[in-house]
Amino acid sequence: MMPQPRPWPYAIEFDQVERIDCDVLVVGGGAAGCMAASGAAESGARVVVLEKAATVASGASGSGSDHWESAATNPCSKITPEELTDAMIRAHDGFNNGISHYIETREGWDRLLDIEAARGKIRDTDDDFAGAPFRDEKTKLLFAYDYDNRFNIRVWGQTFKHAQLRSAKRKGVKFVERTMATALLTEGGRHGARVIGAMAINGRTGKCVVIRAKATVLCTSRPTRIWLFIPGAPGISEFRPPQCTGDAHAMSWRIGAEFTMLEKAIKAEWSGNRSFPPYGAGNNHNSWYACTMVDAEGREVPWLDRDGSELATVDERYRPAPGQKFFLKGGGEPDIPVYEFQGPETLSVDDLMARGYKLPLYADLSKMPEAERRVIWGVMIGNEGKTKIPIMKNYTDRGFDPSKHRLQSYGDGWKSGAFLPQERQFFGLPGGLMNDWTLMTNVEGLFAAGDALFASNCYGHACATGHYAGRHAAAYASRVGDVTLHEPQVEAERSKLYAPLRQAKGVSWHELNFAITRLMQHHCGAFKTDQLLMRGLDALAAMERDDASRLTGQNPHDLIRIHETRNILTTAQIVLHSCLARKAGSKALHFTRLDSPDIDPPEWNKFVTVRDSGSGVAVGEKPLDYYGNLPDNYERHNRDYIDRRSKT
């Protein structure tokens, strides 16, 4: 039933301005943001977090996560940070963030211990899995995927946001919630100048918040709804939460921040109208790795190692192939496995059909050893994001019993659906903000962490880079003197916040967002050409001029959605500029050009960067190994941290 219009239930504060001062401002209180705040506060900084939702349950893993990847320094790992980062880089043909993933492999375990110290659950302390092949009896850690090498840890991620929030608050961090950052403020209000604060708006009262900060860390994750929008159900347009619209991308682009790899968008894998609920249909990846699959007649689907040899036992699905040292989860990126790091996998659907298997397929936990069944349905599905209630509780309430039932599969592998080639998505390791060894962007005073960084993904990566960026931002803040806001810039940004309220008749954010996605599917779909991309840019510019200026809303909630949609429009333009700047196809970037037959010519084996120079788009480049020697550079930039850890 449709609710009726009613008076707005919260006090309206459109005419009020709250001013806040701090050393380090963290934008976004998800996995990375909470850790950035803690890292900065531990270094003695006064820290403020702006969070659009409620921190305790916000972000991609606000409702949980079930595994912590790449904890190479945990006491059971047989792989070093160097080996693991090297594998991650090579599994993506070099198109990866060497700095951020080295931080992930080197410090991820430290962050997991921080979370445990704040009462996050990371061990099987009740001995529920004593004796299981994935358990280390001494540490009580449970591992996932490669049971020999033990660098991916199964966790009770439901407890993590609570723990992170508790820990940050204990360190004196101030959280300003239900408040969306809308613009970055710069020294003298100049384009490209040092960042000295941000503007924000409260989504319930409409109050304007102005923050003055010596350093700012962007932790608002990656953009969504650039190609995908479901009218009537925009909340499930994407795999990521609806309020994570990549606001930092748009805000920082407008002041001159540099991006890379945003030309990479893969054919969509997961979201509302084409796929079944994530982790909720029969599959054998991620949380469900390595579940037995069967066909319609109950015939077991063969598992193969990287050489195509059939695996005789369930246990072998969790072990490297003969002669292989270790395997990455799912062979790096599911679509383009790299032999050296490729893990076990089931026979492809095409091969199954050729061998007479009958559709549909099912995931059959009843055929798994008891401990594997319990750890998948209990620990993993009980703790993964978006699973505890929609899958575990609701299926159990409807009678699902993993020891008796098989769950239908609706697509190849974990995708649980079939998308069209022009339906693109930032999934896996998409592009984002370019970073240096302190996780600072090209703009002074502006840092980034988590999935806002280019080629970034995963909870452990977000926490590790968050803490790292937080402490480097604090160090930077301690070196700079007081900052003074440029009041005309504050006033101009404040006026933009409320413009949609003055627009009596106009366009709804739904309509504009849907139009952007249609436009992007047509001009920036599976195949790119300069002409198409330029036509797309013209069309987006017209939309910005003629339609975004007519966005209309009535209350603070509408204003939040409207400013998100403006950001989506800006990010779509960054994507088109990024695509235009890369003139040849690239397999690793899922980037195909019709006007250039070349795929991966050596001269394009580099990061292409784009930024708004203030007088047009500046295209730049960096070598794929711009980060240099990983351990040497890491140690040079983190002497204090290394010394402090070695003492504790």
Partner: protein, 91 residues
Amino acid sequence: MSEPVMAVPDPMVFTPIIIDDDLCIGCNLCVLVCQADLFLPHPEKGGAPTVFYGGECWYEGSCVDHCPVPGAITLNTQLFNRVHWEESTPS
């Protein structure tokens, strides 16, 4: 601003969340945790919140997870997203 500020709902195609008004104690924990901020609290203390911007639901279930009263709030999977299961065959 002279006009009263109004909340106007979006067209709702699905019913993502069902609140049982008899069980709900009006604690507003669901209102507090929802990422999409899709609920509006009841104007009177203790009243059940309204699912107002239902189209914005991400279906992650934090509202249900934080609710102190079993059954007071239910996450209602859309019909097109209902996954089928059946008895498995003997090994």
